[in-house]
């Protein structure tokens, strides 16, 4: 189990200091905007931020071509507009805070190392891919491969916290190495597939094939039923103390935690037996 307390610094954000970007025109041509990253906005004037590079499809443009920019020299960033086709916001960020007003495209906060991203809508696939630290908080739904590894890579998320208030898609935390993913809604199949270690908590329905090929790590299903692979075996019913610590921390971050889940019993299964078999899936089983 990794430590989660370091991800808990939430810096209050005063909007007057923030840099606000608003997408000028809605588009379906993909925009790669990895330059929307707090690290790059610090020490830059408004004109400096406007001249940062971005890609509109195959055309190299500047942030100023695509967004109206207000504010300067701040690691507090607000992004607005129809952002569903805007990719890579907050990629590789190490500090500050990004607030996305609305839905956002692929690769949000990929490779992120610190700071916080809050999405007030839904996020696309690969949010938090290869993330190493910091926190992503998605108020809506997340896509597939949340906190996962890119295809062909050996390990995915390696630290930090992702919280999704809605549902998440397939392969949540694929090849995850460290960190915590909490999904309050349902997750689709292959959650924690081949995870090396780390923690995934799911409040809604835990999809099929959870923990497929997992070596170590913990998947917790707060619903009282989950369909498991034949390569997992039942161990016991118990009250995991570590889980309390996690849940109390989540509570401190403002999430409502139900007492039954805090005090209750869990059935423990271990697997995946095709590998180390030191992974565990905990399924809530009454108080």
């Amino acid at each position: 189990m990794g430590c989660i307390s370091c991800a808990g610094f939430v810096i209050a954000m005063s909007e007057t200091d923030a840099v606000t970007l608003r997408l000028k025109e809605p588009t379906t041509i993909p925009i790669e905007a990895d330059s929307i990253c707090p690290d790059l906005f610090v020490g830059r004037s408004q004109a400096g931020i406007e001249s940062l590079p971005a890609f509109y499809g195959r055309r190299k443009v500047t942030l100023g071509d695509l967004f109206t920019v207000e504010g300067e020299n701040s690691d507090q960033v607000i992004v607005e507009g129809a952002l569903r086709y805007v990719k890579k916001i907050g990629q590789r960020m190490t500090r500050g805070r990004v607030v996305v007003r609305g839905d956002v495209g692929l690769h949000l906060g990929a490779y992120m190392r610190g700071g916080e991203i809050v999405v007030e809508g839904n996020a696309g696939d690969w949010a938090g891919a290869h993330m190493q630290g910091g926190r992503i908080w998605i108020r809506g739904n997340a896509g597939h491969l949340l906190g996962a590894a890119y295809r062909g890579e050996k390990r995915g998320m390696n630290g930090g916290v992702i919280i999704v208030e809605g549902n998440a898609g397939r392969e949540v935390g694929a090849l995850m190495r460290r960190g915590l993913i909490v999904v309050l809604g349902d997750v689709d199949e292959f959650a924690g597939v081949r995870m090396i270690t780390g923690s995934i908590f799911v409040s809604g329905r835990l999809g099929a094939r959870a923990g497929a090929g997992m070596k170590r790590g913990t998947i917790v299903a707060f619903a009282d039923h989950a369909e498991l692979l034949p390569t997992f075996r039942y161990d016991c019913r118990f009250q995991p103390t570590f889980l309390r610590c996690y849940l109390l921390q989540l509570h401190a971050w403002g999430m409502s935690i139900d007492d039954d889940r805090l005090e209750g019993f869990y059935r423990r299964y271990h697997g995946d037996l095709t590998t180390l078999g030191k992974g565990e899936i905990l399924i809530y089983d009454q108080r």
């Binding site: 055309r59 696939d125 690969w126 062909g152 090929g213 995946d272 095709t274």
Partner: protein, 421 residues
């Protein structure tokens, strides 16, 4: 005149023993090909066709001009298809994608794309079809149906073929078929395991756990008893040379690439006991070549994007179906493929909306809705070229008749020149 040792360009078997009789630049008869291959040779168009722009026949320079204009105007072009053209043309298509900053994807992404992803995460214990013919004593067909799709596979390579260590052909081999329904291939099997649809992943991971000697709490997986699976594991361990051929029954259902990763891992781990390999049953004649050429040129087998000047790879993001369904592309160049006929509706609808350029010998469905149609010669019939067999062996395709049409390679070259100026 009879031409011997012709390679049939139609399916991934690339049978290289075909004989073709040609008279007056027409193919009169074909020997040894299966019915699919025969009809490809006999119905190959040889008459001259002019390019079409906006429904009107035009001359080649005007057509190339129109095509280049569409591509240059586009902010996010897609190049797609590639599976039925020669590797020489595939290479040009990649050069064009690089030049434009386009996305490029082959039909692999809707058949064996998951195979590439699975192999990437797991490696690939593989062999050639020649080794299968000469050595295999356990042949497993998983989610594929060669009797109907690769008709000469049994006879030339896998089941009936007589080789150095398999002199009695069929008698020397145990044939296992794993599928969700009793196909014609299953009728030829010694053992047929009928799985519940979508449970390939569970069965594969169980086989792997059993091979490791893990104790499991279940009696049945995917509709098959654990005893039957234990028997299969024993046979796999005991054989001299085993091979699993797999098809879209595994790659496009249930666990997709994770199923392939399990299958490949299973074969790899069996090599602690014996010799064991896996091989995807590639469909189109040179779809394996599309993977090989793309990998050789860009480092990645499919779903590549050049927008930033270097190749980015991401299936799910740069795969044609996803790009089209999310409406992320605004022009398309289709080479030797008919996406209007086989892509999902949402993707096909967007393709219908955007300006499309088609390079194809046939007037297919996509060509009918395309802005620019560039009729080309057929590799293996009216043009020479290179194609890769399903075991990634490159074979030279012959030209048996003359065609007035230019090749895909030439046309792509003209477009590249025009885009450059």
């Amino acid at each position: 005149m009879w031409i011997e040792n012709v390679v049939c360009p139609f399916c991934g078997c690339l049978c290289d023993d075909i004989a073709v009789e040609v008279e007056d630049n027409r193919i009169k008869s074909v020997k040894r090909a299966c019915s699919n291959g025969r009809s490809v040779f006999l119905h190959a168009p040889t008459e001259a066709r002019r390019p079409v722009v906006d429904g009107k026949e035009v001359d080649w320079p005007d057509a190339i001009d129109a095509a280049a204009r569409i591509l240059m105007k586009s902010a996010s072009p897609l190049i797609y298809g590639l599976s039925s053209t020669a590797s020489e043309a595939q290479r040009k298509a990649i050069a064009l994608a690089d030049l434009l900053g386009a996305s490029i994807d082959s039909t692999s992404s809707i058949c064996h794309g998951p195979t590439s992803i699975g192999i990437q995460s797991q490696g690939e214990p593989t062999c050639t079809l020649g080794e299968v013919k000469h050595r295999s004593d356990l042949v497993i067909f998983w989610g594929c149906n060669p009797v109907e799709a690769h008709m000469r596979h049994f006879a030339r390579y896998s089941v009936l073929a007589r080789g150095k260590f398999t002199p009695q052909g069929r008698k020397d081999r145990t044939v296992v078929v794993v599928d969700v329904r009793p196909t014609l291939t299953a009728r030829n099997a010694d053992i047929f395991l009928q799985l519940r649809p979508g449970s390939d992943y569970e069965v594969l991971i169980t086989l792997r756990a059993m091979l490791k000697g893990a104790r499991l709490d279940v009696a049945e997986v995917g509709g098959v008893s654990v005893a039957q699976l234990a028997d299969l594991v024993e046979r796999m361990k005991r054989c001299r040379f085993g091979v699993v051929f797999f098809g879209m029954g595994v790659t496009q259902t249930g666990g997709k690439h994770w199923s392939i990763a399990e299958l490949v891992a299973l074969a790899a781990e069996l090599n602690a006991h014996t010799r064991f390999n896996v091989m995807p049953m590639r469909g189109h004649g040179n779809v394996a070549g599309a993977d090989c050429t793309l990998t050789w040129q860009t480092g990645y087998p499919f779903a590549v994007n050049f927008a930033r000047g270097y190749p980015q790879y991401n299936p799910g993001e740069f795969t044609a179906v996803d790009l089209l369904a999310r409406q992320e592309v605004d022009a398309a160049l289709i080479i030797a493929s008919d996406p209007m006929a086989h892509l999902p509706r949402q993707a096909a609808e967007h393709l219908n909306r955007i300006p499309t350029i088609v390079l194809d010998p046939e007037m297919n469905l996509t060509a009918r809705v395309a802005r620019v149609v560039l009729p080309t010669a057929i590799y293996g019939i009216s043009a020479v070229g290179t194609a890769y067999r399903m075991d990634n062996i490159p074979l030279p395709l012959k030209k048996v008749v003359n065609s007035p049409q230019p090749t895909d390679e030439q046309v792509l070259d003209w477009i590249i020149e025009r885009v450059k100026t």
